[in-house]
């Protein structure tokens, strides 16, 4: 594997649409649950072990070479909120565009043709990692890290939180992020039926409410 390719894919500047999404942080800020660095850390930890673990396992499974369409269906089954399913597919379509420009492959072309409106983002992320010559652990790390880096970046904008404090939150979560990615990659090796289905009901509920806000800064 190329460690540099992993950095390109994991870079927050990778142009795959993530910048417009808060990962549920915008409603959490509005409701006062996230108001400083400590509450941001709690939010990120919760998301990491639920939505993060599930996304990381899907990404690892796609990188491992499991059928992306079966994984897409598995992702649907693990995403009870229609708003979050729509978000995941929109981001998957955006990731696919960046992936086909950066690491083109017949497998990406096939998934793009089968899901022109977008497959679930973690599945596309995993397949992108595979096309870049990366392994399941790498894909899982990318997906797990994204679930915490997205909200942290969004909260810097939403609360004018000190960016050093937000980045320190991510640094302190790094060992946990490693463990979640490891567990996700191990599950992916046991096959599609072994993939975790952890979810965060409050994130699902607030995502539905947020999608109906008339005025918001982030798309999700």
């Amino acid at each position: 594997m190329s460690r540099a390719a992993l950095l390109v894919l994991a870079d927050g500047r990778f142009p795959a649409g993530g910048h417009a999404h808060s990962g549920g942080a915008e409603p959490a800020v509005a409701e006062g649950r996230v108001h400083d660095a400590d509450s941001l850390a709690d939010f990120c930890r919760g998301r990491l072990h639920t939505a993060g673990l599930t996304a990381a396992a899907l990404a690892a499974a796609a990188a491992h070479g499991l059928d992306p369409l079966a994984l897409d269906a598995a992702a649907d089954a693990r995403t009870p909120s229609p708003a979050l399913r729509a978000t995941a597919r929109r981001l998957g379509r955006q990731m696919m565009r960046a992936a086909r420009a950066t690491w083109p492959s017949p497998e990406l072309d096939a998934l793009a043709a089968a899901r022109p409106r977008g497959a679930h983002q973690p599945v596309v992320l995993g397949l992108t990692a595979r096309s870049a010559g990366l392994g399941p652990e790498d894909a899982a790390h990318c997906a797990a890290y994204e679930t915490v880096s997205g909200p942290a970046t969004a909260v810097v904008r939403l609360l004018s939180l000190d960016p050093y404090h937000a980045t320190a939150v991510l640094a302190r979560l790094a060992p946990e992020t490693d463990r979640v990615a490891q567990a996700a990659a191990e599950a992916a090796r046991r096959g599609i039926d072994a993939l975790p289905a952890a979810s965060a009901p409050l994130l699902d509920i607030t995502a539905e409410a947020h999608a109906a806000w008339p005025v918001r800064l982030f798309a999700s």
Partner: protein
């Protein structure tokens, strides 16, 4: 970004002049500029001026999602299916320059849904003087400033003022009331822009958006030539 080969399925790259089915895509023109300079009003006026002869669609990049799209809808400049709002996560300049994926999807969806289109106007949310559009997203860009924002803006320069394919200085009717010197703005703009065109507009006057519309027609003629 061209990779020198083609794929089946949806377009993988951004600036290709043809769509996956081989037809020529619409000319895409970006409109950027500071808050309140009249970007949305210029888009509305352009739509009114050009819609009888051209098939047009608009993509808006609001800071607060649908404000600009709703303005265009409420003023009925285009049918609703021809206007799409892109959400920008508090950073409109990111969505038009650094990560253009959501905007590319919006322009492709519009071509699929209401095409064939001649022209797609991509409006940025009101942003700072450094905001410019990626060449992967638009073929040409217009930067809209106004006389009330201060007549020193052309002199100060910045990527929008110096590099836009057309600089529009709007609200010239207000110049006497805000003490702005139009001649000085024109001289400064010429100095900063090395011969690139500048249009002075007053959307409330009889001439209105005319100079901008003429420029768009010329770009379109070059695009389809």
């Amino acid at each position: 970004m061209h990779l020198g080969h083609t794929h089946d399925g949806p377009a993988a790259v951004s600036a290709d002049a043809t769509r996956p089915d081989g037809t020529r895509r619409a000319l895409r023109i970006g409109l950027g500029g500071p808050v309140g300079s009249g970007k949305t009003a210029t888009v509305a006026a352009l739509c009114r001026e050009l819609r009888d002869r051209l098939s047009i669609a608009v993509v808006t990049n609001d800071i607060y999602t649908r404000e600009d799209a709703d303005f265009l809808l409420n003023n009925a400049v285009l049918p609703p299916e021809r206007i799409q709002a892109v959400e920008t996560g508090a950073c409109p300049h990111t969505a038009i320059r650094d990560d253009i994926s959501a905007n590319l999807e919006a322009v492709e969806d519009l071509e699929d849904a209401v095409g064939p289109l001649d022209l797609i106007l991509v409006e940025s949310g009101g942003d700072n003087l450094t905001a410019t559009f990626s060449k992967g997203l638009v073929d040409a860009q217009i930067f809209v400033i106004d006389v009330a924002g201060g007549d020193d803006i052309p002199r100060k320069g910045g990527p929008g003022v110096t590099t836009a394919d057309l600089l529009v200085v709007n609200k010239t009717d207000l110049a006497p009331y805000v003490g702005s010197d139009l001649e000085r703005m024109a001289l400064d703009a010429e100095k900063q822009r090395g011969g690139l065109p500048v249009a002075f507009t007053s959307l409330t006057s009889a001439e209105g958006v005319g100079p901008v519309a003429d420029w768009v027609r010329a770009r379109l003629a070059a695009w389809t030539a």
